[in-house]
């Protein structure tokens, strides 16, 4: 059972501020998602977990350099920048 407090915490983890209204709304939605997952509980658990569905193992690339993007291209998508840097929120 997901409570409003849980939603608050999840919001904090995602650095998203939620209104009281949103907290109630998301609590309801999270709970319905969890209900949906309960269907999985009906499956016979006696199968090994599938970590990857491709069935592949050991996919590698050789340790070779390839050209990087230009600084302009890299910064081109930045919502905020300052000089040669991306600009982000202060860290904890």
């Amino acid at each position: 059972m997901i409570t409003k407090r849980d939603v608050e915490h999840i919001g904090w983890l995602a650095r998203i501020k939620l209104t009281e209204e949103e907290k109630s709304k998301f609590a309801k939605r999270f709970n319905s998602i969890l209900d949906y997952f309960e269907i999985l509980d009906e499956v016979d658990p006696d199968v090994p977990p599938a970590y990857n569905i491709s069935g592949l193992m050991n996919v590698f690339r050789a340790d070779v350099v390839r050209d990087s993007m230009s600084q302009d291209d890299a910064l081109g998508n930045a919502p905020k920048k300052e000089g040669e840097f991306f600009k982000g929120p202060r860290v904890v």
């Binding site: 983890l13 690339r61 350099v65 050209d67 990087s68 040669e84 840097f85 991306f86 982000g88």
Partner: protein, 475 residues
């Protein structure tokens, strides 16, 4: 003494080491050689976390981490998986870090360390692979900066995390551990520790009766010892004032040498680890024998060989093998000079000391210079004092031994010149001569000093001694 055994100090380390000798990053082809580059010039859609970009694992990064794990006596796991470690931070463009969780590459190793009360084994809990986050540049101190600037050049570099069991008992032991680890990595040729940010440490420390404190962001060898010492003093002071130490994460401020509390930080379960669906599982068992066969001689084995092969002391062998380049230097010199004992003494005791004093490493001194100096010393062309002077001159002013000998007039003087200096000194110091004849041995030291002074330290002390005794006895 800031701490003692009864403080019940328990330390565990999480050491992050960049595989900075690789040609490319962990999941993309960007070059990891960004140290002299402009910010944000070594990026691509993968390491910038642009939508749709997919990671592909660098094979040599895996070979390198297996080398490290084997050198640390770890058990390589049959199957290993990458996970997403989710947390929202500007240094992670994807909103998660590709790391490992269950099923790391390797578990259960150990490193031998010179600790309190002799040699100790520090257990390694696990070794795993992850991508390095970007570098954050703060405006002002971390606690008060209003925003951060981000350089994604470092983002996605191959990073190894070595986690110890809480086996360390003092800050000094923690530093010894790091030295031993650094030494092994250097021998494996997977790591260049001279590069900025090559090694970063998080340390867990508790004192008897107190909770575990995690100190993050220690970025140098010396910093580890300092940060831990600071924590011990801080925690002891709190305890003395009757304040209970509760579990928290602190940040180490290298400049100020203090740790400061970080406000709420994610707990382990907040990271919501789950298997990275864009990467397939790894099974590296079939590679282990081949990789083990390719391992170079490691520090401990080399030290034992030096003691056996060159018959040098265990102490000298330890000092010399504590750095790969120093050990190579010694072998080059010893093979030419044909006197390993002399070579070991001059390299471990004299040269190393002079280098440390100047904050230099062995690359500042070409081995051929040491060979020339020791050869002149062996053929008695120069005195030990002059040899030291030549070493200092090379380090301070540059130049090569033969030229320095000439320029500074360091060639040992001939016996006949010493003899005339001896005669003069005897003539000029009748009182001391009389004292010696009356059985006062110190008088001989005084007279020797006078001869050395006259010859500007270039006389062989053994010859001075011999000539003085002869003269004093027969006149």
């Amino acid at each position: 003494m800031k701490y003692k055994e009864s403080d019940g100090i328990v330390i565990g380390l999480e050491v992050h080491v960049q595989l900075n000798k690789l040609n490319s990053k962990l999941f993309c082809g960007c070059s990891p050689r960004y140290h002299d580059a402009e910010p944000n010039t070594h990026t691509c859609p993968v390491c910038l976390g642009l939508p749709g970009a997919l990671p592909v694992l660098n094979e040599d990064a895996i070979v390198n981490i297996i080398k490290v794990a084997l050198a640390l006596n770890c058990k390589i796991e049959k199957q290993t998986l990458f996970y997403r470690k989710n947390y929202y931070y500007p240094d992670l463009p994807k909103g998660f870090q590709i790391s490992q969780y269950d099923y790391p590459i390797a578990i259960g190793g150990k490193i031998k360390v010179n600790g309190m009360g002799g040699e100790r084994h520090i257990r390694i809990k696990r070794v795993h692979m992850e991508e390095d986050p970007a570098r954050l540049v703060h405006k002002g101190p971390i606690e008060s900066s209003r925003y951060s600037l981000i350089d994604y050049n470092r983002s996605g570099m191959a990073l190894i995390e070595v986690v110890t069991e809480p086996d360390l008992r003092s800050p000094k032991e923690a530093r010894e551990f790091l030295n031993a680890l650094r030494n092994i990595l250097e021998y494996l040729d997977v790591f260049d520790d001279s590069l900025d940010g090559a090694l970063r440490v998080d340390a867990n420390i508790s004192l008897a009766g107190g909770a575990r404190i995690e100190v993050k962001n220690i970025s140098s060898y010396k910093g580890v010892e300092k940060a831990l010492l600071f924590e011990i003093v801080r925690q002891k002071n709190l305890a003395r004032r009757g304040i209970k130490i509760t579990q928290e994460t602190r940040h180490y401020d290298e400049k100020r040498g203090v740790t400061t509390s970080l406000r709420t930080k994610e707990e382990e379960h907040d990271y919501r680890y789950f298997p990275e669906p864009d990467l397939v599982p790894l099974g590296v068992c079939n590679r282990i024998d081949e990789i083990r066969g390719s391992l170079p001689e490691l520090p401990d084995i080399r030290r034992q060989r030096f003691v056996q092969q060159y018959e040098i002391s265990d102490y000298h062998a330890k000092v010399i093998t504590s750095e790969l380049r120093l050990a190579d230097f010694f072998e080059t010199v010893a093979s030419e000079v044909d006197n390993p004992l002399l070579s070991a003494t001059w390299i471990a005791d004299v040269l190393k000391g002079e280098l440390n004093y100047r904050g230099l490493d062995i690359t500042a001194f070409p081995p051929k210079h040491m060979i020339q100096i020791l050869q002149m010393l062996r053929s008695k062309k120069i005195t030990e004092k002059s040899a030291v002077q030549i070493i200092r001159t090379i380090l301070d002013e540059g130049g090569a031994p033969p030229e320095i000998v000439k320029r500074k007039g360091l060639l040992k003087i001939e016996e006949n010149i010493i003899a005339s200096a001896v005669a003069e000194v005897i003539k000029e110091n009748p009182a001391a001569v009389q004292d010696f004849r009356n059985g006062k041995n110190e008088a001989l030291h005084f007279l020797m000093g006078q001869v050395m002074k006259k010859t500007h330290g270039r006389a062989d002390p053994n010859i001075v001694n011999k000539l003085l005794r002869e003269k004093l006895q027969c006149t």
